[in-house]
């Protein structure tokens, strides 16, 4: 089977999973819409699929959840921010994962990638908030929520990563990349 179709469908799958993770457990948060687990999947998309496809899956998946949950005004920024976060996360992970000191502790590159992605997300939404609500403290108030969400994301990806490596299809995908 041609790899291209397969990659396209898996990208769609990751987008769907990102969207679901974003939608299933949501804690409405006054300052930044809602807090959710989606960032974990954003990160994993970047790691599993590489920058281009991973960015697409993360961005589109998160954007869909904004559209479906009724936050359309965030849709466009979300697309850009989450795609970018996945790309940065993926790059950091791939840079670190082959380093010898990380081989033993698989979580180090993952957490580093999570922090990298988290900076993008928090910073990105801060900029959006500044535009929407004016610069200053009002915009700053989005930061704690996003940091918390980022923490959730890292936890989720740390749980999921070992799980995913059990899945035969993912195993072969990661092996191919290495």
């Amino acid at each position: 089977m041609a790899k291209k179709t397969s990659l396209l469908v898996i990208t769609a799958l990751m987008a769907a999973l990102t969207c679901i993770a974003t939608m299933v457990i949501t804690i409405p948060s006054p300052m930044n819409g809602y807090i959710h687990l989606g960032d974990g999947l954003v990160l994993l998309s970047g790691i599993l699929l590489g920058p281009i496809y991973g960015g697409m899956a993360a961005g589109v998946g998160s954007m869909l959840s904004d559209l479906l949950l009724g936050y359309p005004h965030y849709a466009l920024p979300t697309l850009v921010i989450k795609a970018f976060a996945a790309i940065v996360g993926g790059i950091i992970y791939n840079m670190l994962v082959h380093k010898s000191f990380c081989k033993k502790y698989h979580l180090i590159p993952l957490i580093a990638a999570g922090i990298g992605g988290g900076i993008i997300v928090t910073g990105g939404y801060f900029i959006v908030a500044s535009i929407l609500f004016g610069e200053g403290v009002a915009a700053l108030s989005s930061v704690p929520g996003n940091l918390l969400q980022n923490l959730f994301g890292i936890i989720v990806s740390c749980i999921l990563m070992p799980v995913l490596t059990h899945v035969p299809a993912v195993k072969s995908m990661l092996a191919r990349e290495a």
């Binding site: 179709t5 396209l8 987008a15 869909l64 949950l69 009724g70 108030s141």
Partner: protein, 266 residues
């Protein structure tokens, strides 16, 4: 019902706005949002409000439904207003103890609140009147020109539409697996963070296994039906502008002109 989650906020009705080409709605929403930031004076906000009111009326979406959509941001709105009210420096208006409210503060807060409300209602109207599938179609067509700079427009749209297809299926699957593991005594609710995290594994492994199996099957089914990317593909439903779409564009031009005029007079 889980199965209908992918229509999102869509409010089914038969209105002119529902029937508009999704490209018009996408572009229109964008124009509207930009207009809110480009012009801020009382006259232009009046025009923007009037414009919105007409569209709401045409869309046949009940006003109560729209207001409901504002609820999640109510707190944010209040917060923003307070902030600008108390912290904007300028000419003093009233003073209660050490709290000072300035004229500029009132003005900024007012503008901010109105802009935010218009912004959210404006963009929500798009999701109220367009299903995600139509939006996907609109995006594919609307982004068509980007193909010239090698943006894989067709692939992105195809990916979005497959994702939309996967979402309800995967949600149903999650539910099924959760029940099946509960039948084996799994407990997803109680326990501390670590225990809860651990209890997700019996749910997530089968979910991912089956998700990837599905993806593999679907890719195979697509290939079996001669799918080979966007090249050489024809469209069953090519989006074609109708008269009402051109009229809609014209309305946006008139809207924008009015705004410019209003700004000039100011």
């Amino acid at each position: 019902m889980i199965r209908d989650i992918t229509i999102g906020q869509y409010y089914p009705a038969d209105s002119v706005i529902h029937r508009l080409d999704p490209r018009v709605k996408l572009l229109g929403t964008l124009i509207y949002i930009i207009s809110l930031f480009a012009f801020h004076n009382i006259a232009s906000y009046l025009i923007a409000g009037l414009f919105l009111a007409v569209i709401i009326h045409l869309s046949k979406v009940p006003f109560s439904y729209i207001v409901k959509g504002l609820k999640p941001i109510l707190f944010l709105l209040l917060f923003t207003v307070m902030f600008n009210l108390f912290l904007t420096p300028g000419q003093e208006f009233v003073r209660v103890g050490f709290i000072k409210i300035t004229l500029e503060g009132i003005k900024t807060a007012g503008f901010m609140a109105v802009r935010l409300i218009f912004l959210i209602i404006g963009s929500s109207l798009m999701t109220f009147t367009t299903t995600p599938n139509h939006l996907t179609d609109g995006l594919e067509k609307g982004m068509g020109p980007l193909r010239k700079i090698h943006v894989p427009v067709h692939e992105i749209a195809m990916m979005m539409s497959i994702a939309l297809r996967f979402i309800p299926i995967l949600l149903e699957e999650t539910d099924k697996i959760m029940k099946a593991q509960s039948a084996r005594g799994a407990d997803f609710e109680t326990g501390g963070l670590i225990k809860k995290a651990k209890s997700l594994i019996p749910l997530l492994v089968p979910l991912f296994v089956s998700a990837f199996r599905r993806a593999n099957d679907l890719a195979m089914a697509m290939e079996a039906r001669c799918y080979r990317g966007g090249e050489g593909r024809t469209k069953m439903k090519p989006l074609a502008y109708k008269k009402r779409d051109w009229i809609a564009y014209l309305c946006f031009i008139v809207y924008w002109t009015l705004l410019i005029l209003a700004a000039k007079i100011n």
